[in-house]
C-alpha cells in the first residue's frame, strides 16, 4: 500500500531525511518513533505529498506520489500537528466545509453521525474557538473519517485525547486496519505504538535505525533499543 524507496529530503545544506525506505502493506500499521528533530514529521509530510522529496521514489496505493500527488491526496487521510480547524466555524460547519472540499457527501445527518462517533455531538453548534486541544483533535479525526481513505498518516494522534478518546482512537485504528487500510503513526508513546502497530520504526538523525515487527518487541526491549540507537546512531539490520 505504501512503498518508499531511498527517500531523501534536504533544506539547503541541512539533510532532514537520508535514504529512508519503508513498506506498509494493506491492513498494517507502522509506528514511527524517534526523538524530536529525528525527521518523523518531515517523513509524514513527504508521505502525505505536502513536501516533495529531494530524491527517492514513493508509491501509495499503486500511484506514483511524485508524478500524481493529487491522485494520492484522494486516497489519504492526514491528521498532522495542525488540526485544520477554522476557529470561527462550528464543529458541524467545519465538517461541512471539508466534506464539500473533498467532494464528499455533506448532508447534515451524515456529518452529525461523524461527530457522534468522536463524541462531539453535544457540541455540534459550538464554535471551535471554545474547544480544547483534545476536542479539536477529535474534530480532526472526524474530518479524516468523512471519506474512505486507504491510508492514514497520523502525527501524534493520541496527544491531547483523554482516556476515552484514546480508547476510541485505538479501536478505530484497529478497525481501519481490519478493513485493509494502511497506517503510518508518528508517536512518542511506546505503549500505544505497540498496541496498534505491526511494525516499529525508529528514526534518528533522519535515518531509519531500526525496523522490526512490533509483535516480537516488548515495551522494555523497545525502550532499551531506542535509548541505545538514538544515543549511538547505529543501525540495526532488518
Amino acid at each position: 500500500m505504501i512503498a518508499a524507496v531511498g527517500l531523501r529530503k534536504s533544506f539547503g545544506a541541512t539533510v532532514v531525511l537520508e535514504d529512508v525506505s519503508l513498506e506498509v502493506p494493506a491492513g498494517q500499521c507502522l509506528a514511527l518513533l524517534g526523538p524530536n528533530g529525528a525527521g518523523k514529521t518531515t517523513l509524514l509530510r513527504v508521505l502525505g505529498t505536502l513536501a516533495r522529496p529531494s530524491a527517492g521514489r514513493l508509491i501509495i496505493d499503486g500511484v506514483d506520489a511524485l508524478r500524481d500527488p493529487d491522485a494520492v491526496r484522494a486516497r489519504i487521510g492526514m491528521v498532522a500537528h495542525g488540526s485544520y480547524v477554522y476557529e470561527d466555524l462550528t464543529a458541524l460547519e467545519n465538517l461541512r466545509f471539508w466534506a464539500v472540499m473533498a467532494g464528499l457527501d455533506a448532508r447534515p445527518d451524515r456529518l452529525r453521525e461523524r461527530l457522534q462517533a468522536v463524541e462531539l455531538d453535544a457540541l455540534v453548534g459550538e464554535r471551535a474557538r471554545t474547544f480544547s486541544a483534545g476536542m479539536k483533535r477529535r474534530l480532526a479525526l472526524a474530518r479524516v473519517t468523512l471519506g474512505q481513505p486507504r491510508v492514514l498518516l497520523l502525527d501524534e494522534p493520541f496527544s491531547g485525547l483523554d482516556r476515552q478518546g484514546q480508547k476510541w482512537l485505538g479501536e478505530f485504528l484497529l478497525a481501519f486496519k481490519a478493513r485493509g487500510g494502511a497506517i503510518v503513526l508518528a508517536t512518542h508513546g511506546f505503549a500505544t505504538a505497540l498496541a496498534v502497530a505491526d511494525r516499529a520504526v525508529i528514526l534518528a538523525g533522519g535515518r531509519i535505525v531500526l525496523d522490526r515487527p512490533a509483535a516480537g518487541l516488548g515495551r522494555d526491549e523497545l525502550h532499551r533499543l531506542y535509548d541505545d540507537l538514538v544515543e549511538t546512531g547505529e543501525t540495526v539490520p532488518r
Binding site: R73, G82, S83, Y84, V85, Y86, V100, R127
Partner: protein, 226 residues
C-alpha cells in the same frame, strides 16, 4: 451542481461566515475609510475647484488603501491550525479555492466601497446621483482588478514574515493600469459626462481584469504548493 462550483461556493460561504462572525476586516476597513475621509477633508479645505479635480483620485486612494488592508488579511485565517495545508490536501483543481476567496474579497470590498462612497458624498457635499450609473460600472470593474491580483499576492505573502511590507510592494506597481483607468473613468462619471467618453479607459480596465483573473486562475495552484 458541479463539484468545482460547489467548492467555489463553500470557500465563499466559509470566508463570509468567518468575516461576519469575527468582523476583523470589516471593522478595520470601515474605521480606516472614515479616518481617511476626515484627513482628506481637513487637508483639502473648502476650495471647491481643487476638491473636484482631486475627488476621483481621493476616492480610489481610499478604496485602494482599504483594499490593501483587507486583501492582505484574507489568508490569515488559513494560517490558523495549518488550514492552508488542509486546503492543499483536498483533491481537485485548486483554482476553485482562488475563485471562492476572490469572490469573498470582492463582497467585503464592495460593502466597504459602498459605505466609503456614501460618506464621501456626505463629507464633500458631492452630488453622487448623476455619477451613479457610471460608478455602477467602474466600481465593480476596478474592484475585480484590485482583488484578482490582491488575492493571489495575499496567498504568496501569507507565509512570509514581512508580509505587511511585501504585500503592497508587490501589489501596487501591478495595479498601475487599473488605477489609471479607474481614476480617469471616475472623473468622467462624477463630471456627469456619458460613460462612453471613458470608453478607452473602461476597455483598459476590462482587459486588465481578464488578464489578472487568468493569471490568478493559472498560477494559484503553484502558489499554494509553495
Amino acid at each position: 451542481m458541479p463539484a468545482y462550483a460547489r467548492r467555489v461556493g463553500i470557500v465563499l460561504w466559509k470566508d463570509l461566515l468567518v468575516e461576519r462572525r469575527s468582523k476583523e476586516s470589516l471593522n478595520a476597513l470601515l474605521f480606516f475609510g472614515l479616518l481617511l475621509l476626515f484627513l482628506f477633508q481637513f487637508s483639502l479645505g473648502p476650495d471647491r475647484a481643487r476638491l473636484e479635480s482631486a475627488l476621483p483620485g481621493l476616492l480610489w486612494l481610499g478604496f485602494v488603501l482599504a483594499g490593501l488592508l483587507g486583501l492582505g488579511r484574507s489568508f490569515l485565517a488559513e494560517r490558523e491550525n495549518d488550514c492552508s495545508e488542509g486546503l492543499l490536501l483536498t483533491p481537485g483543481d485548486k483554482s476553485a479555492i482562488y475563485l471562492g476567496k476572490l469572490a469573498a474579497n470582492i463582497c467585503v470590498m464592495g460593502v466597504v466601497e459602498i459605505v466609503i462612497l456614501a460618506l464621501f458624498g456626505l463629507f464633500f457635499d458631492v452630488d453622487l446621483a448623476r455619477g451613479l450609473p457610471g460608478l455602477a460600472v467602474i466600481l465593480p470593474l476596478g474592484t475585480v482588478g484590485l482583488a484578482a491580483v490582491g488575492t493571489l499576492f495575499a496567498a504568496v505573502t501569507a507565509q512570509v514574515r514581512a508580509r505587511e511590507l511585501l504585500f503592497p510592494v508587490l501589489l501596487l506597481p501591478i495595479q498601475v493600469p487599473v488605477l489609471l483607468a479607474t481614476v480617469s473613468a471616475t472623473q468622467v462619471a462624477l463630471a456627469g459626462q456619458p460613460l462612453a467618453d471613458a470608453g478607452p479607459w473602461l476597455q483598459l480596465l476590462a482587459g486588465a481584469d481578464i488578464v489578472y483573473l487568468v493569471i490568478g486562475l493559472l498560477t494559484f495552484e503553484f502558489v499554494l504548493e509553495g
